[in-house]
Symmetry: C2
């Protein structure tokens, strides 16, 4: 597409109210935060209790109808889980009834740094967080299920799918449930920058002479690959390159966040 940046409409559901200069509704930004999260937090309600439930799941944005779609295009979120778990049962109920699916909220968050100021109340995080709202239904079409499994597997380690035993067995496909979340809206909130204090604290010489202020950058790191007891092969290039890129990119991200004003 590329003519302009698509945005989710601003509604009561997704509007960022606090510190709204940090908010963004651009699909590409939101989808990128979701796709780079190794764990997504998925929230839904069950009929039996007053509390919403949160499950950690693995997921990835994609388009089965148009697999070549860009990150900034309208996409679905594919979520992976065990077929008989509560969320899958509710998603199945949603897909069989006349409703559009189970209402779900998905959150993805990265911490890029701890921001330490003179006042404890001016402390903050550098972070990138996104939420998506949508309706979840169970994927029943086998070809779409395979599409989603490949999408999600390759999101964990790029190119991994074609380096596994293929094709999947019937039992594997049957025991794996995929939810497709049709997105209703979403938003992201990003904070980056150095420490900052109120004028009064900045002008307090005694405090500035005694309190360290700055950012402790934080990133996710992968260590040396640890081969299984039954492994017989050397670490392949697509894995060692992924580990290297992952570490460099994440370190750079945390460093840049602290520099960004």
């Amino acid at each position: 597409m590329g003519r302009y940046d698509l945005e989710y409409p601003k509604e009561a559901t997704n509007t960022v109210e606090r510190l709204n200069e940090r908010g963004t509704y651009a699909l590409e930004t939101i989808h990128r935060i979701v796709n780079s999260s190794q764990i997504l937090h998925v929230s839904f309600n069950t009929p039996s209790q007053p509390f919403p439930v949160i499950l950690p799941m693995i997921g990835q944005m994609g388009s089965f109808d148009r697999p070549s779609a860009d990150l900034g295009d309208p996409l679905d979120l594919y979520l992976h889980g065990y077929v008989s778990s509560r969320i899958m049962n509710l998603g199945r109920a949603g897909s069989e009834g006349e409703e559009k699916g189970m209402p779900v909220c998905v959150a993805a968050s990265h911490v890029d740094g701890l921001v330490l100021a003179i006042s404890a109340f001016s402390h903050s995080y550098n972070y990138r967080s996104a939420v998506l709202f949508g309706h979840a239904t169970l994927v029943t079409d086998e070809v779409e299920k395979l599409y989603a499994m490949e999408l999600i597997t390759d999101s964990v380690v790029p190119d991994r799918w074609q380096h596994t035993r293929l094709p999947p067995t019937k039992a594997e496909l049957q025991s794996t449930g995929i939810l497709r979340l049709q997105i209703a809206s979403g938003s992201a909130k990003i904070n980056a920058g150095q420490a900052h204090d109120d004028k009064k604290d900045m002008e307090n010489e005694a405090m500035r002479d005694s309190i360290w202020t700055g950012v402790l950058p934080i990133n996710s790191t992968m260590g040396e690959p640890l081969a299984s007891p039954y492994n017989r092969v050397d670490v392949p290039g697509y894995i060692s390159e992924f580990v290297k890129d992952f570490n460099e990119d994440n370190q750079q991200q945390a460093f840049n966040a602290a520099k960004d004003e």
Copy 2:
């Protein structure tokens, strides 16, 4: 306490149904996962829409009535956020009515490694995740608010509170909202170990000779502290030691998870 390990009662709300050998209900285990999470995902419902909402927040388990309580004791969860945000307003409504507060679910998750097997369907994560269910109310007592602010600040960087400008101003205290979550139940799920495949794949010589299997350990890492433009002091010992311990502990945790069978 220490005579026995307290557990949250197993009920429909919190029972781990999938792979339940991974589930645990021990307060100490659950509280430890929560307290070591830099971001908690907090889910609640709003009257205006069908979707639950998830907010990323900072929080810590504590006991205002018995500050010396252990991690394995019954504790409250204190959550930090801006006072006028949606969750705070709902928490305030809960605390003023006759109800016990707003029903909330809190999730904390750590990824310790990517577990790569021969079959894509035998891939998994090493992880530690916890959920807590409870009722949230706004903390109105000023002394309790200060207790929680110190608790939460020191959870981000140990000892930081006493190294900030104290006491807080009236405006700071007024603009900061603290939610206290009274816990109704909770559970944790932990997965650790090396790659594993079904018998048929393990006996497939061609696959074992071509597919790398093992764990990519993952941990959160802090880089070199980046001083702010207005900083005048060297990185103090309590910060540099924290960074060193944080990195060593997390790396060890990810490594141990892959070794644990």
